[in-house]
């Protein structure tokens, strides 16, 4: 087999894996959008905040240590203990649920019935707040996150492909795990939304508030639940991205990559977020591989957005979104 084709296949595989990570962020967007009609701009920052909190808890950092030290002239930084990864993940989830409760209690409960654009603006505000809050709470240094997920080249795939094709594929173990976890997460979410009592209530709330009230659904509970779910997805995404490239504030920028993913997949479809993520992931890697050398590279920065633009023109509801029908 020609070497070019083999390389192409490897790029394709790596694109798939990268796409899974995009999809994870996009999933959080879809969840909140489906259940509350809010386009949550802060989803990326939530992933960052979750990762920051996780690292902070694991390393036993003192929250707000810089602030405390500046005000009281002390010098506390660490509690001096380490929390095991699993316990730290659970604790972080508790923090995310508390955050969900506060977001609903202090922001969105007061904006019920407002225009979507106003809700959207509120999430932008939330994004900036959360970014600053995360900074004050845990500091802005780049942190290493290691929850015990294996990293580095997967020897098994390398060996098999080398024996079969004479060329060993480089597939990162972390990417494989991310894919596995994402698949589990998506199955769980779809099952939840379609078949559980609370999932049905969630869909009902998204559809009509009044009607939901009349069948006895507690709107506030459902909203807190949905934001908690989004927080959970953010935590998973934060762990994956954080392990891959360190927990740093540029993490919140991956939220921007989720936008073209959503435009491709449709804002209301969970499978759409996955497929959209994969297409963007594979598309940008292959484009860089094939077209990149001809135009001087760095196509990964813009490819996703151009693709999204093309979709906006020809299929605005995305691949899987609900079709927009105007009744006349």
């Amino acid at each position: 087999m020609p070497e070019q084709l083999l390389w192409g296949m490897e790029v394709f595989m790596n694109g798939l894996m990268a796409g899974v990570l995009y999809a994870l962020v996009a999933l959080g967007f879809v969840l909140i959008f489906k259940a509350s009609g809010i386009f949550n701009f802060s989803q990326g920052v939530m992933a960052l905040f979750a990762a920051l909190t996780l690292v902070g808890i694991m390393e036993g950092r003192v929250p707000f240590s810089h602030l405390i030290n500046a005000v009281f002239g002390t010098s506390v930084h660490h509690f001096g203990w380490n929390v095991p990864a699993f316990a730290a993940i659970l604790l972080t989830m508790v923090v995310m649920v508390a955050l969900a409760w506060m977001v609903n209690r202090f922001i969105f409960r007061h904006l019920v019935g407002q225009e979507p654009i106003i809700l959207f603006m509120a999430t932008i505000g939330l994004a900036y707040f959360l970014e600053g809050f995360g900074d004050i709470m845990w500091g802005s240094d780049i942190k290493k996150l290691d929850v015990g997920l294996p990293q580095g080249i997967n020897g098994f795939i390398d060996e098999i492909t080398f024996n079969l094709l004479g060329y060993g594929f480089f597939i990162d173990n972390l990417d494989l795990w991310a894919t596995f976890i994402a698949v589990l997460l998506v199955i769980a979410l779809v099952m939840f939304a379609q078949y559980s009592k609370h999932g049905r209530a969630m869909r009902a709330v998204a559809d009509d508030h009044q009607a939901a009230l009349s069948v006895g659904i507690n709107l506030n509970f459902i909203w807190v639940m949905v934001w908690s779910l989004a927080g959970f997805v953010a935590l998973v995404a934060g762990i994956m991205w954080g392990t891959k490239s360190g927990v740093q504030f540029s993490l919140s920028l991956i939220a921007l990559k989720a936008l073209p993913v959503l435009m491709l997949g449709g804002f209301t479809s969970i499978p759409g977020a996955i497929v959209g993520g994969l297409i963007i992931g594979v598309g940008e890697k292959l484009f860089e591989f094939i077209v990149g050398p001809m135009v001087g590279g760095a196509t990964e920065n813009w490819f996703a957005y151009v693709l999204a633009l093309i979709f906006l023109v020809f299929r605005p509801q995305g691949l899987f979104g609900e079709k927009i029908i105007e009744r006349v």
């Binding site: 078949y195 559980s196 009592k197 609370h198 049905r200 209530a201 869909r203 009902a204 998204a206 559809d207 009509d208 009044q210 009607a211 939901a212 009230l213 009349s214 069948v215 006895g216 659904i217 507690n218 709107l219 639940m225 609900e322």
Partner: protein
């Protein structure tokens, strides 16, 4: 003393009417300076079909919204099942067994008819998030049981053929019927219907009247309904409250109300001298 003053009585068509299920005592409701309801009292008895009628803007819908907890009156007490109801939010009222429909149809448009009806069963499903995940078998059992109730009601209202259809594709008359099905699925103690026949043609009105009577007869559901079409209401209901400009101007059997001078004036207009 008429037959209606007794503790329980049997109607001409053989239905048993029981004691007081819900009582409104001196309810007043204002929006800013606008008085929507002024000092109204009436009761709803178990098993009866109770109508609230009146011309447009009489405060009928406001009254229904007070009963279902969507509006909170400034004055007065709501008695339900023999006790004063504390102030509660609409979803808590619903959980007490009061189901309702809306004048402008509030269905979950993106969901299928069956899913809509199943939302009516939500309060009968006891298993929470975690227990559903842990005891999968039990959760499935619960889903099946509730599904059976929903299917029974779907059959009863003759909407089997559209079970899987998304509600947004249905014509108006059918949507009204689906909304009734969803309310019924909750197996409510009290069913509130807000203008169930608004915007319907004669045939659809007849169908709806038949369903309301059948529901009351078959399930023994207590029904309170609002209408401004006098003719329909008089045939359906056991007792009628008449409202005008937020005040109660008549209360009694359809015959009594029909011959009430204040009611005739309100509906036909009266010459002001």
């Amino acid at each position: 003393m008429s037959v209606m003053d007794q503790e329980t009585y049997v109607t001409a068509d053989g239905r048993t009417i029981g004691g007081v299920l819900m009582e409104m005592r001196n309810i007043s409701l204002r929006f800013g300076g606008v008085k929507a309801i002024t000092d109204i009292s009436f009761d709803i008895r178990e098993g009866e079909i109770r109508a609230i009628i009146g011309p447009n803007g009489a405060g009928k819908s406001s009254m229904l919204n007070v009963i279902s907890g969507f509006y909170i009156p400034q004055e007065g007490e709501v008695w339900y099942k023999g006790a004063v109801r504390p102030q509660m939010r609409p979803f808590e009222v619903a959980r007490q067994g009061i189901a309702r429909t809306f004048q402008n149809i509030a269905l979950f448009e993106g969901m299928s008819v069956l899913d809509n009806v199943m939302t009516g069963r939500l309060n009968h499903m006891t298993m929470g998030l975690l227990s559903q995940a842990i005891w999968k078998g039990k959760a499935e059992q619960e889903e099946i049981e509730n599904r059976e109730v929903a299917e029974k009601i779907i059959d009863f209202l003759e909407i089997q053929h559209i079970r899987k259809t998304p509600v947004s594709r249905l014509p108006y008359g059918l949507k009204k019927r689906v909304e009734l099905a969803r309310a019924l699925a909750a197996q409510p103690s009290l069913l509130l219907l807000d203008e169930p026949m608004a915007g319907m043609n004669v045939e659809e009105k007849e169908d709806m009247s038949r369903f309301i009577l059948d529901v009351n007869d078959e399930f023994g559901t207590t029904i309170a309904l609002i209408e401004h079409d006098m003719g329909v209401v008089m045939d359906l209901s056991d007792r009628v409250v008449v409202m005008d400009y937020g005040k109660k101007i008549g209360d009694g059997s359809p015959d009594e109300v029909r011959n009430n001078q204040a009611v005739i004036d309100a509906y036909l207009g009266v010459a002001h001298d």
